[in-house]
Symmetry: C2
Subunit: 203 residues, 2 copies
Amino acid sequence: MSIAERKEREKAEMRSLILSAAHHIFKEKGYDGLNIRSIAERIEYSPATIYLYYKDKNEIFYALQYEAAAAKRDHLIPAAAIEDPWQRLIEFGRLYVDFGLKHPDWYDLLFLTRAPMEHVENQECWTLGMATHSFFVETVQACVDARYFKSTDTQTIAYTLWCHAHGLVSLFVRERMRMYPPEQREELARKSFAMIVKMAEGL
Amino acid sequence: MSIAERKEREKAEMRSLILSAAHHIFKEKGYDGLNIRSIAERIEYSPATIYLYYKDKNEIFYALQYEAAAAKRDHLIPAAAIEDPWQRLIEFGRLYVDFGLKHPDWYDLLFLTRAPMEHVENQECWTLGMATHSFFVETVQACVDARYFKSTDTQTIAYTLWCHAHGLVSLFVRERMRMYPPEQREELARKSFAMIVKMAEGL
DNA sequence: TTGCCTACTAAACAATGTTTAGTAACTTTG
DNA sequence: CAAAGTTACTAAACATTGTTTAGTAGGCAA
């Protein structure tokens, strides 16, 4: 069965080659510059070959989205080491915003792009995202348990904080902050983050 | 010069006819269902004719975006009548979120779509949006002036509240709330809005 | 060695944005 | 009013991009 094994390995390698090309093109040319022909050209195969390894463009897209979710998780990992739940929550939030501002393309792909959620495919990515989200909610729960808040509505607290962070990053990523001079934007984001922390203290 | 006037009027009517068709198609079939040929078919002209009235698809798109901005402004108008700045601010926020949840397509077009901001065209829409935004910031300023907050950093307060509302609507519009059962989502949004109001009280 | 099967591709198809070249009706001019 | 010019419109084509089809060449099995 060695031949079959080799073939399977080669198949996996080819999928990985395609995805890696897609990854590079996405990083260089963004969402709009990513098309099947450009991937094919980069790996020096015909466009039709791509379809032997991925059902359609969306499947490649989902795979990329998974990479974004993994990158986000990796970015947030350092927060997990912090003992104190309140400090952990703050650092988690800070890293979340930091990820969005440093990797707007990835954030866009995860949260602002139309295509991905339409069909409930892309299970792995959703699962990974949910794990990260659960870690966040658990940290809020730990804060609630330790009486860091007066409120005990973990769900609403978590959701409210998420809304703020997500809104902050989204306005950045989609360039809806034109009313503020470019050099002020990051500072405003930092101030706003500090403000929501202060506000949360009074919860 | 009557003929020239008539021609100008006819030109404006045609532009309006095209835009109205685009509007209907957008409402029925959404962003992806809106294309030049479908507009042409609806108004019973050839696709090429569209290009005699709009430079390209983006220009139609920008015009639609302006409609969305106008719809948003109209939706928020009732808040302006409220005397007390704090109550006005709350109502403004409530109506903002309400608009987003009731007209996800419009909100999407205004804040979540990639195309519009790329070139700094679409001046009128931006101007209209800025006017609405200024009204919001002025209301926050009025609250600051009336000592509703301990903080006096109007800009950061306004931005923080906007981040929350925008994040809340965005997560809805782009369906990133799958972890909550559908029937819980609106309630969670309402609770979160109430929570941010409470949090703002302590600012 | 023969026949099958796999990986791959050229070419085509379909959808959609956009341009070109031409036509018919309307308007101006002499 | 007739000739010339202009305008409004269109059919057809072109370009791009996702996707499918019909094959082909080379490895693999019998």
